[in-house]
Amino acid sequence: MKVLVAVKRVIDFNVKIRVRADGGGVETANVKMSMNPFDEIAVEEAVRLKEAGIAKEIVAVSMGAPQCQETIRTALAMGADRGIHVLTDAELQPLAVAKLLKAIVAKEQPQLAILGKQAIDDDSNQTGQILAALLGWGQATFASRLKIEAETATVTREVDGGLETVAIKLPAVVTADLRLNEPRYASLPNIMKAKKKPIEQLTPAALGVDPRPRLQTLKVGEPPKRQAGRKLASVEELVDKLRNEARVI
């Protein structure tokens, strides 16, 4: 079967972000960008399905600025077969991304779409669920285990109370949680090979999708800051402070 994976270019998870003074957003100039960590897990899972002989082809999709091609190249170096880049300078929100993905699904006809459960920039945790709904497909979010058999995906999900297992009909959308797998590092030969793999470029207009945001961001501000407290000398002092100063025990 064919597997579609969606990969987002985000500020690297190790970067301490800076909120712009004008309230217009977060500083992205000269900041290290990487593939969203949950999307790396999604790519890895697709590659493992291919290695297991279940997936025949993996298509990696990214959307946004020209540099998203680098993110696609990372996916190709991990083992995806080809890329699709939707070039746009519009601010993309989950609903628009899902509509664009739906249009690509119509072209590509994959049996499975694997996405990261959330992007670590906007923290929305929506795109997979929205895509599944738009396609009329089943969804298995927060996956920590995935098994494909015939027309069914059996997925173990990380939920607040523990783990839950569901069976969903294929085609379906699966969103990857942290413990689905540990993504590989691309080897140098594979990075070289990835440079020759094809990336098709499309636009929202060509896909017939209006990508304009439906949520207006009015302001991005700093969260309230916590003051660093004191280092104490002993557990007795700690118990005393918790009891008589903070009054929480």
Binding site: D123, T141, E164, T217
Partner: protein, 318 residues
Amino acid sequence: MAVLVLAEHDHRSLKPATLNCVGAAAKLGEVHVLVAGADCAPVARDAGRIAGVAKVLVADDPLYAHPLAEDLALLLIGVAKNYSHLVAPATTFGKNVMPRVGALLDVAPISDISAVISSDTFERPIYAGNAIATVRSVDPIKVITVRATAFPPAPATGGDGAIETIPAAGSAGLSRYLGAEVAKSERPELTAARVVVSGGRGMQSGENFKLLERLADKLGAAVGASRAAVDAGFVPNDYQVGQTGKIVAPELYIAVGISGAIQHLAGMKDSKVIVAINKDEEAPIFQVADYGLVGDLFEIVPALDKALEKALTKSSAA
């Protein structure tokens, strides 16, 4: 128009986050609660008693014995036209269902709101809580998940909401529940506990979490963990506190052997009082902790256990 809160429950009782959701929804209009479950009459009764709840819609059907997003979304869109806002807690339950509902209504969902500015404008944390975005929705219906720790819970009693039965919406036929491994614990639920004791990579093993459990039992606390401790297999996933795990804001959070990665701080920095125990005095956790103890946790935790025992016995005698 009224606001509909999707209740999270286990068919016998409401999950506490539902009360926080009602608290948030009350800022937006008259609150109705939707209870979808199987043999869930006690939950419907409890939902009607929440202060400020005017009406409870109950869909009591075996179809809703397990909360499958595909089926719940169909139920919600069937009643959506009567409401200005559809609201659910930003738990794995709400986060699974609500974006699907938004998509079916062609509405951009608003995840994890931490403040209500007006009926169409909300604040929500982004970048692991390192920035707060103020967003305005231009959609006719707002589909929202609520960060429970950001809103005080509505009182569980004092309301007298009318209970109205609604029919099930039918199955989407896309998914089936197979089973669950649910953690059983006598301790309070992590997201609702007054005190949380969490361990990180510094705990070195799952076995060593017993030290924290002992401490937790003295304090009536829940036990949590950093991602590093969960990834290392010390404890199960439902312990995880952080950007992509659970968000907690207890009165007292005790972080033991946790360095304080941004992703962990995102899940606990709204706690009222934070205590950090770590051998590395440069660990970032000390930058958010009110009280810090630098040293070997395997000495400090047992000593703290003893000191607490002494202090707590004294107070119960007094």
